[in-house]
Amino acid sequence: MSDMSVHAAVHGAPTSFIRKYVFSLDHKIIGLQYYALALVAVVTGMVLSWIMRVHLVWPNAPIPGLGALAKVGAPGGVVTPEYYLQLMTMHGTLMVFFVLTNAPFAAFGNYFLPIQIGAEDMAFPRFNMMSFWTTFVAFCILISAFFVGDGPPLSGWTGYAPLSAVGKDAGPGQGIGQSLWGISIFVFCIASLLGSLNFIATTLDLRTKGMTLSRMPIVTWAWFITSCIALLAFAVLMPACLLLILDRVTGTSFFIPAGLNVGDHIQPHQGGSPLLWQHLFWFFGHPEVYIAILPAIGIVSHILICNMRKNMLSHRVLIYCMMAIGFLSYMVWGHHMFLSGMNPFSALVFSFPTLMITIPATIMTLIWLGSLYGSNLRINSASLFCLGFISMFVSGGVSGFFLAQPSIDIYLHATYFVVGHFHMVMGVAAIMGVFAGTYFWFPKMTGRMMNETLGRWHFFLTLIGTYAIFMPFHYLGLAGNVRRYSAFQDDFLVPLIPVHKFITYAALFTGAAQLIFIANLVYSRFKGPQASPNPWECTSLEWSTPSSPPPFDNFGGQHPVVHHDPYQYGVKSSTGDYIMQTSPGPGAAS
């Protein structure tokens, strides 16, 4: 691959409002659109989780306004057990697909990947626009499930067959709601494939002069690796969704076994394999975890390096670790199926690579900690959230050791231990990365600074709050608390209700603390102090643009030339202790 980039024939400057802000071809606007969509999705998903948490500890308490939205599911505002599962399904689907995939990968990746490699735009701007609007359509289809028939589906974000395949006999929401879910995910797959294709082609072909692959920032690498993972993962989920829809609509039997009695009806299907759905789904589902976390790993590493004013102990090893994780992610899907009835020997086979993933993950953690040790870290909201990310990544990751072992998983499977594990390591950790990225790149995206005091309050309340919510989940799981129950009436569960009450209070508190972030975001967008061109004294190309936000072609009709590895900190230069990638000054490495 030549380091002489070939620039795409990019679009001209947009002239109308529609072209500039709605059907925009500009990767920066598309990135912001993804961010806004993720914000709407995360608020919706969080409100759903609040309703679930309140219902869990006060099962008969009416939720104000809910009765009007769900007359069947929540008569008088009191959530029925079925509606609890419907809320849970929508919470999971919204968070995994429309938040954890969109925010760290599609939103920030769209905005900053082309700038960080010195390109004017994505390789295929029209595909990029289509990608966002297809995602938006998928979102609308999913949300519409709240307002049709008997509401959204109740089969969980994993849509396990045959529950998801047999139709309305399986319960409320399993009719049209589940069909809408399947169509939504199918459409989302198309959008993600288009987006991944764009990311890969852009990274490989639109790098500016001097921007060799090894000179790309870690976060650019993270988005690139993630797009490779997403390309292959969503390419599998899409046909899986097609088969599911065919089972539901045309009466095929891919996933539905013979003689299945659901809702007092023998289902008119035969010979299908419920395990087939799990295989196909988790072949996507486990890489999806890394689609969420790898961009956050990249964002956090990028920001930490800038704030440590020195490179990581080895940023190349970090990149190799991300590649190793991406590679291994395709070999471990069976660890979600230890208790599915799969051959026990398969469990052993899947356990081994699962445990192997801990090796690159541990190496990365040691590199972060080793680099932080003795560094003069600049403390700000972004770097604090990076520390929060590492903390959450380790705390959530450690429980993975337990779950990766089939013999221990027999006990912990489908308990709150699992819920605590993935919420911490995949959910909260990735969100911490998104927060870090927001505080860090906000000056570039808007030309204004976010309020630092509010940012720190937001960090500490979020860190304490999320630990208060999710650490007790592990204890609940160890005590045998099964997930997906809508109320706790069994003898062994009743004593755990006080713990659940504590978690509910913590969830309400932590959710409310996010209002600080949203207020900060809105206030700073309009009233924040003007940001200097490079407020963090960072070296990568996004801080070389002529303005903040950058012009439509990013570098004002010019192409930057790159002279250095991305992280030249701790060196003497005329500007301070750093040398921009575009500066031909001293300190050039390789």
């Binding site: 390309l231 097609l242 891919f254 394999s273 395990l275 490079n534 930057p560 005329s574 031909p584």
Partner: protein
């Protein structure tokens, strides 16, 4: 902030850079040398090539998933996996798709000849492009007749897993072939257009995709023959 930015490349520089890239095979810009017909810059050549390979990887992955689904479904332990005889027209369809690939290669060669100024008119290249399109359409119609044949035997999509996989695999493939036919139409429109001229990368990537559709079909036919 010490940043050095260089001015944008001139068109001449860009053209030279592309000529030197090596992947163009001597006629990267689809214009007769020195002719006034058109002088087409192809700055987006490489991303388009990368994009089509990446796209084909994703499509291959989807069909790999469907193949694995077929194997798992066959081994699900329920005795409903029955043999269906493939409609004979599939062999004719296969032949037309293979011939369409050969026609497209001829078309590509003749377009190159035309663009080098060694061929006076567009008619011969267009003939080959039309032949490709026609053979592609014959394949699609032929697949439709194959479905009709199955229906006449009482084999519908949900009848048994074999018929389900037959319709799914051939249907998803035909959808992708229709995408290829759309790409071919685009090539033909651009080839005839004076204002929106054909880029070499467009022609190349369309032909890669089309050949990939052919290879994919041969693979699918093998799977259908082997398992159904």
């Amino acid at each position: 902030m010490a940043t050095i930015l260089h001015p944008p490349q001139t068109e001449v520089e860009r053209g030279r850079q592309l000529e030197n890239n090596g992947a163009g095979g001597g006629f990267r810009n689809l214009a007769p040398e020195g002719g006034n017909l058109r002088r087409v810059k192809d700055p987006s050549g490489e991303p388009t090539r990368t994009g089509i390979w990446v796209g084909m990887a994703a499509i291959a992955m989807s069909f790999a998933a469907l193949t694995s689904a077929l194997y798992v479904r066959e081994g699900s332990g329920y005795a409903d996996w029955t043999h269906i005889s493939l409609p004979p027209i599939l062999w004719f369809n296969t032949l037309s798709l293979v011939l369409s690939s050969i026609a497209l290669e001829r078309a590509r060669h003749r377009v190159a000849t035309f663009m080098r100024g060694q061929e006076g008119t567009r008619s011969v290249p267009m003939l080959w492009l039309n032949a490709t399109m026609l053979l592609g359409l014959v394949f699609v119609v032929g697949q439709y007749f194959a479905w009709l044949k199955l229906r006449s035997e009482g084999l519908y999509l949900p009848t048994n897993p074999n018929s389900s996989f037959f319709y799914v695999l051939t249907g998803v493939h035909v959808v992708h072939v229709l995408g290829g036919l759309g790409g071919l139409s685009r090539v033909m429109l651009k080839f005839r257009s004076a204002t929106n001229p054909l880029r070499r990368s467009t022609l190349d990537t369309t032909s890669y995709y089309w050949h990939f559709m052919g290879l994919l079909w041969v693979y699918l036919l093998f799977i259908l023959w082997l398992k159904l």
